[in-house]
């Protein structure tokens, strides 16, 4: 059976045009909130157009009208059937001091795994330097790390001029952006079922372990701690948090012991991943600032004790923040979205 196309179009066209107008308005004005009457009318138009689409698909093979109605129904469907909560008003302080640490604690096992992988990498790097000093050439990423630690300490402590004079801000922003890129990679490599995240984390651990042991063996432990701790106290945990986000993503992909579909698993963790990576970006911004403006200055400009003290205070505050901030007094945590 073929429907009377002319009559059908003439009768229904005004409803389609009204629905299209409403959709255009909604798309152009994302902030638009409809009144109850407008919502009712919108729903009516959606249902009527859906029925028209069903009719045209059943009784006529006219593809042009069908495509037009499909496009209208498809657009309206997203507006009508969205049941997820609309985002609340942005509250940066609430997000940073409650949501972020709560999210961290909710996925603490992924963080512990990140820490373990980095520690294994550090151990490997340290052992490599211990047993094969020539490995330094391969493991150390930057030329200034390959020179003899005692030589470098002597150079730094006797430097007459500020090497970063006139480029401190640029150096700081370079460090921030570079570290945030690495953090995003740690997260994004979670898509390789976490293998990429673990490899990147391990290789960073190897470098850190090699540098650490190189300086410790050279008797420059104080310099090393004074150099790394002020920014490392925040930078390293931030990298571990980024890897935590990557491993959370990987765990959703793998889905061990979760009898729900992959799509739902990914949907469940998407908000948490975004929270973690935004938190990491803030921490790395701070670390980049400290690294350029404090870590690169050594005795006699700034005493090692002051730098180490600063680093320890930072680390304690960070641990307290992640462990306690936003925690309920009863000790129960807010659950993530279903």
């Amino acid at each position: 059976m073929i429907i009377d196309l002319q009559k059908f179009i003439l009768e229904e066209r005004p409803y389609w045009a009204e629905l299209e107008g409403n959709l255009d308005k909604l798309e152009k004005e994302p902030e638009l909130r409809m009144t109850l009457e407008q919502v009712k009318q919108f729903h009516y138009l959606y249902q009527r157009t859906s029925a028209d689409l069903a009719k045209i698909m059943t009784f006529s093979s006219e593809p042009e009208i069908r495509r037009y109605l499909e496009s209208l129904v498809g657009r309206a469907y997203g507006e009508i059937h969205e049941t997820r909560d609309k985002p609340h008003r942005l509250c940066p302080l609430h997000w940073f001091f409650r949501t972020f640490p709560q999210t961290f604690r909710r996925h603490i096992r992924a963080f512990c795994l990140s820490l373990a992988i980095m520690l294994v990498g550090c151990t490997f790097g340290g052992l490599a330097i211990c047993f094969d000093p020539d490995a330094k050439e391969v493991i150390m990423p930057f030329p200034h790390l390959r020179i003899d630690p005692s030589e470098r300490v002597a150079d730094e402590e006797t430097a007459d001029e500020d090497r970063l004079h006139g480029v401190k801000t640029a150096f700081s922003t370079y460090l921030m952006t570079h570290n945030i890129k690495v953090a995003i990679f740690l997260l994004a490599l979670g898509m390789t079922w976490g293998i990429g995240t673990m490899i990147l984390l391990f290789s960073n651990g190897v470098m850190l372990g090699a540098v650490t042991l190189d300086y410790v063996l050279a008797g420059e432990t104080k310099f090393l701690v004074g150099w790394l701790l002020p920014h490392g106290a925040v930078e390293l945990p931030a990298c571990l948090l980024a890897a935590q986000a990557g491993l959370v993503l990987a765990s959703a992909l793998i889905g061990w012991g979760e009898p729900i579909s992959l799509k739902i698993r990914l949907r469940k963790i998407s908000g948490d991943i975004v929270t973690l990576i935004f938190g990491v970006a803030i921490l790395l911004g701070w670390a980049g600032f400290v690294e350029a403006f404090l870590s690169q200055y050594h005795q006699p400009v700034i005493s090692y004790e002051a730098k180490i003290g600063f680093g320890i205070v930072e680390l304690i505050l960070l641990v307290l923040f992640l462990a306690k901030s936003g925690a309920h007094k009863s000790g129960t945590e807010v659950q993530g979205p279903d």
Partner: protein, 262 residues
């Protein structure tokens, strides 16, 4: 009949209505990405020049601000544009593409962030090789970022309201002089065959002259085999006129008393 929808996602609504979303292929998406890349360069250059004013105070500050601004723009451009324009960047808008939730629902901010951050992996080792391969291999043309964020990129071609003036003109139709044959034609012709005849009429100007004559000759030959009208009813009709008469019979109901379409 060729539907032209070999790459579409079909969604069934709770009302039982099926609709299809055309999925965007990697080539269109690459072109949109090139436009977006140019936008990022342009915005960064303008912001960089504006920040150059800070050089009066401190060159270091101006340089640092430029590095930060480039980073924020390059990472944040896609996120902010897709959030504000509901799944579109400038490049996507130009090519009529839109990021959508895989189930046809609203995009959430977290979905937009994830699909944009995962570009870092999709762009490896260079020029989105990983993302392009993932897109080609995916049933829903998703790169890794889309897969993780449960999003798809759809192509919304400009769908104009159908113009059936070609059919609606009240011209004399000799087939209506034979109501029993017209009724038989309506009974025997399937919606698909009717659609082919309608499309041939609607798109006839897109064909070159030889192909146009050949196409209508074949369609006429087919409909002649379905229902044979007497010679005096088809005498002097060109192929196009014949098909127009067929479509008129199939798609328009006439008031038999007045002989006028209703």
């Amino acid at each position: 009949m060729h539907q032209g929808k070999t790459n579409a996602l079909t969604i069934k609504t709770p009302e039982g209505i099926l609709f299809s979303l055309l999925l965007a292929g990697p080539i269109t998406r690459s072109l949109a990405w090139v436009i977006d890349g140019l936008c990022i360069i342009a915005i960064s250059s303008i912001v960089g020049m504006a920040l150059g004013i800070l050089g009066v105070v401190s060159r270091d500050l101006a340089w640092g601000a430029s590095i930060l601004a480039y980073f924020v723009i390059s990472v944040g451009y896609g996120i902010m544009m897709e959030w504000y324009w509901r799944g579109q960047t400038l490049g996507k808008r130009l090519f009529r593409l839109r990021v959508m939730d895989e189930q046809g629902l609203h995009l959430e901010f977290s979905q937009i962030v994830i699909r944009n951050l995962l570009r870092f992996v999709d762009s490896l080792p260079a020029f989105y090789v990983v993302g392009g391969l993932a897109c080609l291999g995916s049933r829903r043309a998703q790169r890794l970022g889309d897969f993780a964020a449960n999003t798809i990129v759809v192509w919304n071609p400009k769908v104009p309201e159908p113009n059936l003036n070609q059919l609606l003109a009240d011209k004399y139709n000799s087939f209506r002089d034979y109501p029993h044959l017209a009724a038989r034609l309506r009974q025997r012709v399937s919606p698909q065959e009717a659609g082919i005849a309608l499309q041939a009429l609607l798109r006839r100007d897109e064909l070159n002259p030889e192909a146009r004559i050949e196409l209508f000759r074949e369609i006429v030959s087919h409909f002649r085999s379905v229902v044979a009208f007497p010679e005096e009813g088809v005498d002097g009709l060109s192929g196009e006129q014949y098909v127009r008469n067929v479509v008129d019979v199939l798609f328009r109901r006439h008031d038999t008393k007045q002989g006028r379409p209703r």
